[in-house]
Symmetry: C2
Subunit: 273 residues, 2 copies
């Protein structure tokens, strides 16, 4: 793929510029010739769905995904039902913003029983699929790094996510491959291959040693140890040729000027993705 073709796939995952609101992120993306954006729900909420939709439509930016649905496990049936309702709103937002991909961060367990929590995730997805389908939205299960099992998601390997996705049709439920979450996996390339036809997104950042912060410590591509380029080629061989989201959760980047961040993003993307 030419450098130009690659750069046309870059999508700004909005959490990378957490210091910006949606308007700033949209305008920043245009200034840096970025064609795609992934929109976070807390940013939509700040200005409302209608204004968000108008902003994006006027900009000509394409939306690669909405982040995020999920968070299924909860101790009571009532709370789990509330989570489903919230996911339905997320599906509506994705549909309104013109993307067919809702990223699912599936949620931690309310107690020590990981098996029960994983069952609730499965049940939650089962319940959502018909609603998502009606709205033209696919559910994209993102396995999170095992270090997040206790506070963010009980879905921790690509194997687990793909197996869960396979309970449904390929145009209903798929997976996100985020290099930061899966690069360590001894079965990684086998599992990427197994996810063929199910990959709904590819996210990039890097893993730098030492890790400053488990949550806000993701690094710019090229600053860490992840074989990003090899993984990009593997997901392409598995049939994914869509937008590539740069999703870097990093306090040091949030403390910088957003335009400086986007300069680093585009330059690192060119070299290391």
């Amino acid at each position: 793929m030419s450098e130009q073709e690659l750069m046309k796939r870059l999508s700004l995952n909005q959490i990378t510029t957490e210091q910006w609101n949606l308007k700033e992120a949209v305008e920043g993306s245009l200034r840096h010739d970025i064609e795609w954006i992934s929109v976070w729900r807390h940013k939509i909420e700040e200005i409302g769905l209608k204004a968000s939709k108008r902003l994006i439509q006027d900009s000509g930016l394409k939306v690669s995904s909405v982040c995020r649905g999920g968070m299924f496990p909860a101790p009571t049936a009532k709370e789990r039902a509330e989570r489903i309702d919230d996911n339905k709103r997320a599906i509506e937002e994705a549909s309104e913003l013109g993307t067919d991909t809702l990223v699912l961060v599936c949620g931690p367990s309310p107690d020590r029983d990981l098996c029960a929590a994983r069952k609730w995730v499965e049940e939650g997805i089962d319940q959502l699929v018909p609603f998502a389908k009606d709205h033209g939205v696919k559910l994209a299960i993102e396995p999170l790094h095992p270090m997040f099992v206790a506070d963010r998601s009980v879905i921790n390997t690509l194997e687990q996510a793909t197996t869960m996705a396979q309970n449904h049709a390929a145009d209903e439920v798929g997976v996100i491959v985020d290099v930061y979450h899966v690069f360590w996996d001894p079965n990684l390339y086998h599992e990427i291959k197994r996810a063929e036809g199910r990959i709904l997104g590819f996210h990039v950042s890097d893993w730098k040693v030492p890790m400053a912060d488990m949550f806000k410590g993701r690094a710019m591509m090229g600053d860490g140890v992840i074989e990003i380029n090899r993984m990009r080629k593997a997901v392409e061989e598995a049939g994914y040729h869509g937008p590539i989201e740069v999703e870097i959760i990093n306090q040091a980047l949030w403390d910088q000027n957003g335009d400086d961040v986007l300069k680093q993003v585009t330059s690192s993307f060119k070299k290391h993705v």
Copy 2:
């Protein structure tokens, strides 16, 4: 199993009382009716192997393991050969101290290529097996949590460790199940079962949210989210009935009086293991 039988299996992994030298750890264990100890090599080095051996023999304590061999991957053949030599010394130390178990922390990759590093681990173990066998020592591969892939070990799941162990006879190479490193694994109970006859040690601590420190943030049993008791029963069903090492790497514990730490260790062990 009666509480008394369970307590007879408690082993003090010496890193839990990093503030103590070997003499203090041995005497502390005796004061708290602990029958087993796992000895770390940097503690042996402080006083020498001969003095360490005498201390332990005089105390009547049994040695559950020596921590640690491993650290196989290195960029040059010369360096990898040096690592093998160091592992041979570790095997001799284990043998001298009267344990048949050397714990392997297999080491990080010197560069981005995890596949190559994992191959070096495999080759390193292949080279060590005859020497270890001659000394009556088994090599115990300890999978480390995936968050340590870049700085401590490229062996990150029980599946991977067991598969690697199966290249050799069951009385030559096995695995360590450490709850902190493997509790997140969606295939955990399946993999414990698959490791039947290969489990050479069971280590306990806990995973507390939020994690204060990736390396020195392990918690006392019962203070976190790990189903320790369920895992203990699973490794027993898979044939392991040996010592259970309490291995808590935690700066806050190291800052306390060692006897206070051992009081917490024995009390938490009784309740939560």
